[in-house]
């Protein structure tokens, strides 16, 4: 098929940036979205032009490196997929596809479609861990965990930190990400020990890094490639208030 791409091009952090239109023929519906961009880049390199910079690593939906804002939605039109898992079969011949980087104050553009997501690392550093002494791994079944909680913790733990929630949110809020990390640990006995300090520190880091506030619109939940639920945000809120009261 033939497609028209409108891609955000920006030389570096300080460049103003602009959209550049590319016409691309011979695109197969079996390509992934990133393979289509590779194909475009090969063409650009052959023509001696600067290829489009974009992030990717695993290309199988587990690392969270990729992530593009495609036709007004993070990761394009399909539900529950990362950008690397998006197939070109989601588009048809003659389509115009607008490709933008994640837009948020806390995610500055480095080049073209690549953004700096160090903010997420900083939030994790603020409290998204448990403090245990290293040594021999303890017996896994020594601490009983309610099955329901183990499952919920797992549902939160599958967050890959791609930033789709921030990209989708009208307020560029990181609440779904932070709540997934808080929930994952709050639901397990090992995480309870530092639960209070964790939630307060992570919320504080999130605010200081310039993410927006949660308006409960639910766009994050809809666009999350791992379909993480808003109920984790409610749990974060509960954790935060009880940490304040007790």
């Amino acid at each position: 098929m033939n497609i028209t791409l409108k891609i955000w091009r920006q030389k570096n952090r300080d460049d103003k940036g602009k959209f550049v239109t590319y016409k691309l023929g011979d695109v197969s519906a079996e390509m992934t979205f990133l393979e289509m961009l590779d194909y475009l880049n090969e063409k650009l390199i052959r023509e001696g032009a600067d290829p489009v910079a974009f992030d990717s690593d695993c290309r199988e939906g587990i690392c969270g490196m990729c992530g593009l804002y495609i036709n007004g939605r993070p990761n394009g039109p399909r539900k529950g997929v990362t950008t690397c898992q998006l197939s070109m079969s989601a588009f048809k011949d003659g389509d115009t596809i607008t490709v933008e980087p994640w837009r948020a104050k806390a995610f500055p553009v480095i080049k073209d479609l690549v953004v700096d997501r160090t903010s997420f690392d900083k939030i994790i550093q603020a409290g998204g861990y448990i403090s245990v002494n290293t040594g021999a791994a303890p017996e896994a079944n020594a601490i009983p965990v309610k099955k329901e909680n183990a499952e919920r913790a797992f549902d939160a733990g599958i967050c890959i930190g791609c930033g789709s929630c921030v990209a989708a949110c009208t307020n560029a809020s990181a609440m779904l990400f932070v709540s997934a990390k808080v929930s994952q640990l709050a639901l397990l006995p090992q995480g309870r020990v530092e639960a209070k300090e964790r939630v307060r520190a992570m919320v504080q880091a999130m605010d200081e890094l310039g993410f927006g506030n949660c308006s409960n619109t639910g766009a994050c939940e809809v666009e999350c490639p791992k379909e993480i639920s808003l109920s984790h945000i409610a749990r974060l809120n509960r954790e935060y208030f009880t940490a304040g009261i007790t």
Partner: protein, 224 residues
């Protein structure tokens, strides 16, 4: 350390409590006002309004109410400004995510409600409290009441006033449509079985409250 008054989560907590208080207030307000169209004369309405105007508990609640609205508005404004600053460069093509329609327009409906509040307070509250434009009326119990009902009925004889009220009150309904369930989520109350119930209640609440308030000027215009 960030706290309940300064953090993002804390600010929303305060906002949702103030909002829930306003949600309860609206029920009370509507149940008094609706007597204007349920009964032939404004007697019940005037008696209730006078009671509300003199009762010391209600007088304290009036201060709480204005405080609550102010708090809600100030925090709403602060949050909105922070939200806009969180995305300095906007998307060219955006908002294609499938989310609840009204949640995208909270700022717009908030501005509509603010305009409504100004008009509404100028129309009735100021006239009643400060301008003394309300006449007294004596009922069968021998007591004298402010005839606020007459003022309301007179005001809603004017077609454009009725239209302005209906349009602005629709804005209130839209605000309530998202906000009712949103407040529960903000307070951390999300549950597999109860959240769908809360969402349904929110829809019913917003339709009943907005519809109820809208019916008052409309019925008065056509029937009184």
């Amino acid at each position: 350390m960030s706290n309940i008054f300064t953090s993002s989560v804390g600010k929303k907590f305060i906002m949702s409590l103030a909002g829930l208080f306003l949600i309860i207030f609206l029920v009370l307000h509507l149940s008094i006002n609706i007597t204007l169209i349920l009964f032939k004369t404004p007697e019940t309405f005037n008696k209730a309004a006078t009671f509300m105007g003199n009762n010391p508990v209600i007088k304290i609640m009036e201060v709480v109410l204005f405080g609550g609205i102010l708090l809600h508005m100030i925090y709403g404004a602060v949050l909105q400004i922070q939200n806009l600053l969180a995305r300095p460069v906007r998307y060219k093509k955006s908002n294609y995510s499938q989310t609840s329609f009204f949640s995208k327009y909270m700022l717009h409906t908030a501005i509509i409600i603010t305009i409504f509040l100004v008009i509404h307070l100028l129309d009735f509250w100021i006239k009643n409290k400060f301008l003394g434009e309300v006449h007294d009326i004596t009922y069968a119990d021998g007591k004298t009441y402010h005839d606020l009902g007459a003022l309301v009925i007179e005001r809603f004889q004017i077609g454009w006033v009725v239209i302005v009220y209906v349009v602005l009150l629709l804005g209130l309904g839209f605000h309530l449509h998202h906000s009712f369930q949103s407040a529960f989520q903000t307070l951390g109350l999300n549950h597999k079985t109860y959240t769908p119930v809360i969402k349904a209640l929110g829809v019913i609440y917003s339709i009943v409250v907005a519809g109820g308030f809208i019916s008052i000027p409309v019925v008065i215009y056509f029937l009184k």
